[in-house]
Symmetry: C2
Subunit: 500 residues, 2 copies
C-alpha cells in the first residue's frame, strides 16, 4: 500500500477514534446514571447526553466521512480485512444516520425521554393507559423512520436491520416458525411427562451477603477479569464497557430467589467476556464491538444456559453453594440440575425458563411486525398480547404489569431489538454444535472446573473478530453453514427429554 | 438590548455550554478513575481524557471565540453583570490558553503523566531521586510557560495568576510576611503556656462502620444535600462536581484516627456546599464555579475550622460521637474541644493543626518563588526544604516522604496553587469578621444545632455569585475592605489564647 493511502487510513482511524471516545463517554455517563448519580442530577445529565449525541451525530455524518468513503470506494479491495470492515461500518453508519433528518432525531429524543418516564409511572401504577399516548407517539415516529430508512419487502425490515444486519421478516417468519413449532413440541412432551421436579429446597431465605460471595466465585470460575471489570447492583442487570479493559456488569439480589443472581451473573458475565476478549488491534476502528445484538446475546445465553445450566458446570459450583447455604446440604446434583432447568410456561419474559423463553420473544416479534405495518394499533396491544400468551404459553396476564407493561424496550423505541434474544439462542445452538465437532468432550470436561478451553474457543472463533463480520458472515465463517434452528432445537430436545 | 445582541449572546451561551459539558465529562472521568475504574483501564482512560482536553482546547481558542470577543468589546458595558462576567471569563481563558502553543501543551501533558507516576513510585520507595529528573522537566516547562504567559514584576506572578487572579509576589510577600509573624507569635505564646491538653482518649480504636455513621450525621448537620451529592472513599479526600445538582465528596477512614475523617468530611462538605449553592442562572455561562481556588479553600476551611472546630459546633456533635463510641463517655466538652485544637508543629501539611498549617504553605510558596525565578534548582530542594522546616516549625524531616515528597502538587505541575490554601484561611477570617458584624450571635447560635443562618449568609454573600467576581472584587464586595490578614490573625489569637 502506498504512503498516501496509509496516511488517509490514519486520518480515518483518527476520526473513528473520536467517535469511539464519544461512545465510551456516553456509556460511562449512562453507567454512572444507573449506579452512582444522585437523583436531582437527572435533568443536567440529560443535557450532557444531548451534547454527546450531538457531537457524535456531527462526526458520523460529517463531510469528511463522505470524503473518506469516496476516497476508498474505488480501492476498497486493496485494504486489509480490518480496514475494509472499518470503512463498511463507517459508511453504514453515515448512510443510516443521514437518512433521518437531525430535526426529527431531536424531536424523537424528547418524545422517548418523556415516554420512558411515562412507562415508569405506568409500571408503578400498573396502568397501561398512562403509557398509551406516549407509546402511540413513539410508534408514529418508528413508522416515519421506516419510510426514511427504506425497505424492500416489509416495513419492519428497516428496523430489524438496525440491530441485526441481513435479518428480514421473510427470514424470521421461517426461522421463528420452526422455533415455535419445535419448542411447542418439546413443551407438549414435558406436559405429558410424569417426572416430578423437586424445587422445595429453593423456597428458603438466602442471605444476600453470601449470595455476593457466590457472585465473585462465579465470575472467577468463568474467568471474568476483575482487574479489567467490575460488578455492581441494579434492578435490571446489564453490561456496559469503555474499551476492552473496562467492562462493567451488574446483577440483582433477592433473598427469596437464589437462582436469579446466579444466572444474572453468568449471563452478564458472558456479555462481559465477549467485550474483554475483543483484541486491541480493533480499538480505534469502530469494530471493537460485538458483531450484532443477536451475536452478543448468543454469548450471554451460551454462558448462562448451555454452560451455566449444564450438569457438568453445576457439579463444579454446587459444593461452593452448599458451603454457603447449609440448608442445601442434602440436595443432590441431579436434584439441583433439574431444579434450575425446571420448565413452566409463565407470564414474565425475564423470568422464563430456557425452553419457553423464545416463545416470549416470538410473541413480541409478531406484535412489532403487525404494529409497524399498521395491521394493529397501540390501543389493540393489551388484547393482542393476552390472546398470544394464552395461545402460545397457556397463561393469561391479569394485570398490565404482568403483560404489556413488563418490558421497557418500547418506551425507548427499541423496536426491532427483541428478535435478537431468540436469534441469540439459535446462534448459540449452532455454535455449540461446531464446538462439539471440534472437541466432543468440550462440555463434559467442564466438570474439571476449567473454562479455559471453551473461553478460548469462543474467543478465537467469535470474540476476536469484534464487529468485522456481519452476523450472517460470522455464522458462516464459524460453522460453514447458514443460520439454522436445527441445532438449537436438537440441543433443547436432548436436554429436556433427558430431564423429563 | 436589541434582538441582534440577544441572539449573539445566545450563541455565546451555546458555545460556553459546550465547554461546560466537556468540563463535566472531564470531572466525571477523573472521579470514575479514582473511585470505580478497574486498574487495567488506565491507559485507555488517558486517551479519553486527551480527547476531552483536545476538544476543550479547540472550543476555548476557536475563531468563533475571537469573533464573540470582538463583537462584545465595544458594547461590553451594555451587558448584564452575568453576561459581562461571562465575556470576561471567556476572553481570559481564550488569551491564556492561546498563549501556550498546542504542541507544548501536548508535550507537557506527557511529561506530567510520567511525572505523576514517578512521584508515586518515589513515594512508595521513599526516594526523591526517582522523582527528581521528572520534576526537573516539569519545572523547565513551568519556566517556559512563564515566558509565554508573560509577567510584569516577577516570573512567579504568571503562575499565581492562573489560580488567583490579581495575586502577585509583591502582595503575597507582604501578606504572608504578616501571617508568618503573627502565627509565630502565637506559637511562641503556646510554647510558654503551662496548659496541658489531654489527648489520651483519642488514642484508641474507632470502628470504621461507626465512623461512617458519623460521616452521614455530619453531612446532614451541615445540610449537605445527599440527593444532589454523594460520599465515597479515597486515600486523599477531594470534592468534584458536575453542575450544581451532582456534587461528590470523598473521605478516608483510619481506625486509629477518629478526627481525620471528621474534619475531612466537614472540609470537603464545605467545598461541596459552595458548589451546591451555585444558582441555576449561572449554568451555561462558564461562571458556575467558585470565584478562585483560594475562595473555594476559604469555604472548606471556614466549615472545617471556624465552624467545625468551634466549641459551639462540637457541643452539638459530641453527644452523637459519644453515642457511637462509649470509650469517650467521660470526655467533657472542654476536653474534646481542646483536643481537636491541639497545636503541635509537625512535618506533614495535611495533618497540621489550624494554627501551623499556613506555615507549611508559606514554606512551599517561598520555595516555588525561588524555583521559578531560577534562584534555586530542583537538586537543592531537599536541603532548602529541611532548612525552612527547622527554621519555621522547628522540626526536621528524616526521610523524603516526611519532607519533599509529601505533596503530589508539583508532580502534576500545579505550581502557583499552594498559596491558595493560606489565602483561604485569610479570606475566611475576613468573612468571619463581616459575618459577626451582621450578627454577633452567628457562631454562638450554632450550639442550637442549626446551620441555616451561616449557610445562608455564605450562600448569599459568596456562593451565589459563582465566578462572577475576581477574588479581589468579591472580598471587597463582601467586606467593603481590601484583603487583610488582621481578621484571621485576630481570630487565631483569641482562640488560642483562650485554649492555652
Amino acid at each position: 500500500m502506498n504512503q498516501k493511502i496509509q496516511e488517509k487510513l490514519n486520518e480515518v482511524r483518527e476520526h473513528v477514534s473520536k467517535i469511539e471516545e464519544l461512545d465510551r463517554l456516553s456509556a460511562l455517563v449512562y453507567w454512572d446514571m444507573k449506579i452512582c448519580m444522585p437523583k436531582k442530577a437527572l435533568e443536567q445529565r440529560a443535557n450532557t447526553l444531548a451534547y454527546i449525541t450531538g457531537e457524535s451525530f456531527k462526526l458520523t455524518t460529517g463531510e469528511e466521512v463522505k470524503e473518506f468513503i469516496n476516497y476508498f470506494n474505488p480501492i476498497i479491495n486493496e485494504l486489509s480485512i480490518v480496514d475494509k470492515a472499518m470503512m463498511r461500518n463507517l459508511k453504514k453508519n453515515y448512510e443510516e444516520t443521514k437518512k433521518i433528518p437531525e430535526k426529527i432525531h431531536k424531536q424523537y429524543s424528547i418524545v422517548t425521554s418523556l415516554s420512558e418516564a411515562a412507562w415508569e409511572e405506568a409500571r408503578e401504577k400498573n396502568d397501561f393507559s398512562i403509557f398509551k399516548p406516549h407509546l402511540e407517539k413513539v410508534v408514529a415516529f418508528q413508522r416515519e423512520f421506516v419510510e426514511y430508512l427504506g425497505y424492500k419487502e416489509n416495513k419492519y425490515d428497516a428496523l430489524l436491520g438496525k440491530f441485526e444486519e441481513g435479518i428480514t421478516v421473510k427470514k424470521l417468519d421461517k426461522i421463528f416458525g420452526e422455533l415455535k413449532e419445535g419448542i411447542l413440541n418439546i413443551l407438549e412432551y414435558i406436559k405429558k411427562s410424569n417426572k416430578k421436579i423437586n424445587r422445595e429446597f429453593l423456597n428458603a431465605k438466602f442471605d444476600i451477603k453470601k449470595q455476593k460471595e457466590i457472585s465473585l466465585y462465579l465470575l472467577d470460575k468463568i474467568k471474568f477479569d476483575m482487574d479489567a471489570g467490575r460488578l455492581d447492583e441494579t434492578t435490571h442487570p446489564f453490561t456496559t464497557n469503555f474499551g476492552n479493559k473496562d467492562v462493567r456488569i451488574t446483577t440483582h439480589y433477592f433473598e427469596r430467589d437464589l437462582l436469579s443472581n446466579i444466572y444474572s451473573i453468568i449471563h452478564e458475565g458472558g456479555h462481559g467476556l465477549y467485550e474483554l476478549h475483543i483484541p486491541d488491534n480493533l480499538l480505534g476502528t469502530g469494530l471493537a464491538i460485538g458483531a450484532s445484538m443477536g451475536i452478543h446475546e448468543s454469548q450471554s445465553r451460551f454462558y448462562e444456559n448451555i454452560i451455566g445450566r449444564s450438569k457438568e458446570f453445576i457439579k463444579v459450583i454446587l459444593p461452593f453453594i452448599k458451603e454457603k447455604f447449609s440448608n442445601l446440604e442434602d440436595v443432590t446434583l441431579d436434584e439441583f440440575y433439574s431444579a434450575v432447568n425446571y420448565v413452566e410456561p409463565s407470564l414474565i419474559r425475564t423470568e422464563a425458563d430456557e425452553l419457553t423463553y423464545s416463545l416470549h420473544v416470538i410473541i413480541r416479534y409478531e406484535i412489532e411486525k403487525e404494529l409497524i405495518n399498521g395491521d394493529i394499533e397501540v390501543k389493540d396491544l393489551p388484547k393482542v398480547w393476552k390472546e398470544k400468551y394464552i395461545e402460545y404459553l397457556g397463561v393469561e396476564p391479569k394485570t398490565d404489569n404482568e403483560g404489556i407493561l413488563q418490558d421497557m424496550h418500547w418506551s425507548d423505541g427499541s423496536f426491532g431489538y427483541f428478535p435478537s434474544y431468540a436469534l441469540g439462542n439459535i446462534y448459540g445452538g449452532q455454535f455449540l454444535n461446531k464446538l462439539m465437532q471440534d472437541n466432543e468432550n468440550a462440555i463434559n470436561n467442564l466438570e474439571d472446573g476449567d473454562m479455559s478451553y471453551i473461553n478460548e474457543w469462543l474467543s478465537n472463533n467469535i470474540h476476536k473478530y469484534g464487529g468485522i463480520y456481519t452476523p450472517e458472515e460470522l455464522v458462516k465463517k464459524v460453522t460453514s453453514e447458514e443460520l439454522s434452528t436445527k441445532y438449537f432445537l436438537n440441543y433443547l430436545e436432548n436436554k429436556y427429554k433427558q430431564i423429563y
